[in-house]
Symmetry: C2
Subunit: 235 residues, 2 copies
Amino acid sequence: MSSNDHISKQFDTELESIRASVLQMGGLVESQIKSAVESLVKSDVNLMTRVIAEDHRVNAMEVKIDEACSQMIARRQPTAGDLRLIMTVVKTITDLERIGDEAEKIARMAKMLSQKNVLSKPRYHEIERASEIAVDMLRKALDAFARLDVVMAAQVVRQDDQVDEEFRGIMRYLITFMMEDPRTISTALEILFVAKAIERIGDHAQNMAEYVIYMVKGRDVRHVTVDEIEREVQQ
Amino acid sequence: MSSNDHISKQFDTELESIRASVLQMGGLVESQIKSAVESLVKSDVNLMTRVIAEDHRVNAMEVKIDEACSQMIARRQPTAGDLRLIMTVVKTITDLERIGDEAEKIARMAKMLSQKNVLSKPRYHEIERASEIAVDMLRKALDAFARLDVVMAAQVVRQDDQVDEEFRGIMRYLITFMMEDPRTISTALEILFVAKAIERIGDHAQNMAEYVIYMVKGRDVRHVTVDEIEREVQQ
C-alpha cells in the first residue's frame, strides 16, 4: 500500500466516522421529539424531565461533530465532493441541534400544561398527527443524507406543506376551542406553541433535505420552488 | 514582492471581501425587519409588498457568500484563525437568511391583518419596542463580528432575555385582549405570531454573537450560560 493510498484510506475512514455521528445525532433527536410529544399526550412528568435533561447530549454532539469537521478541513484539505459533504454536515448538525431545542421546548410546555388546573383540555390528536409527519420528514432527510438519495430528499421538501396544513388545522381548532370558552385561552396558546414547534421541526427537516440535494447535485436549491427541485432531481 | 506575499495579499483581499459582504447582507436584513414592522404599524400595504418582494435579495446574498466561502476553502486551504473566520461566516449567513425569512413572515402577517375587518385592534406599541431590541441585537452582533469584539457579543447574548421578556409581556396583553372580546381571537393570534417572529430574530442574533465569541476565543460557547460567557470574555 502506497503512502497516498494510506492517507486516502484514513481520509475515507474519518469521513465515514463523521457521517455515522450525524446519523447517530439524528437518531437521538428523533427520539427526543417522540418522547416530548408522548410526555405531553400522556401527561408523563418523568418523561418531560428526561427530555429536558437529555438536550445537553444533543448539544454536545453538535459541538463534537463541528470540531471534527473543522479539523478535517484544516488537516486533510478536502476539495470538490468531499468538501461539499463536510459543509453539508456543518449545516445539517445546526438544524439537528435546533430540532433538539424544539423538542426540549415541547417538553417544557408540556410541563407547564401539566401544572395547570384546566377546566377543559383540548384534544392532542392533531398534535400527534403533525408530529408523526415531522418525524417522518426528519427520518427521510437523514436517510437521504446517508444514501445521497435526492429523490427522497425532494419528497421531504414536498412533505413540508403537509405539516403546515396540519398546523393551520390545529390553529382553526384551537380558535374554536377558545371562543367557546375564553377561560381556556392561555392553555390553548401553550398548545398552539407546541404546534408551532412541530411546524419548525418540519422546516428544519426541509432545510436538511435541501442540503442533500445541493451536496449531490451541486446546485443550490434552497430558494427555488418544489416543482423546480423535482425537475432538478429527475435529471 | 515575493510570490508568497502576493498570495497572502490576495488571500486577505478575498477574506475582506467576504467579510464586507456579510455586513452588507446584515444591513439589508436589518432594513427588512424595520420595514416589515413599520408596514404593520402604519398599515402600509406597499411597504408590505416591497418587503416580501425583497426577500429574494437576502437569499441570493446567502447563496453567493456561501459559494465564496467554499471556493476559498478549496483554493486557499486556510487553517486556524482564517478557517474559523470562514466557518463563522458560513453559520452567520444562515442565521441572517432566516432573520430575512422572519421579516418576510411579519410582512405577510401584516398583509393578512390589513385585509381583516377588525372591530377592535390591539395596540402595536409593545411589538415596536420588542422589534427595536431585536434590531439592536442584530446590529451589535454584526458590529461584534466586524470588530471581533467579544465584549459586545456577550452583551447581545445577555440582551436576548429582554426580547423574551417583551414577548411574554405581549402574550399577557393579548390574552387579556382576547378574553375581553373573543371575536378578536384570530386577529390577536396573528399579532402573537408577529411577536414570535421578533423573538426568533433575537435568537438568531444571539447565535451570531456566540459564533463571534467562538471565532475569537476558539471555545464553543453555544451551550454554556451567560455568566460563563461573561467570565470567558473577561479573560
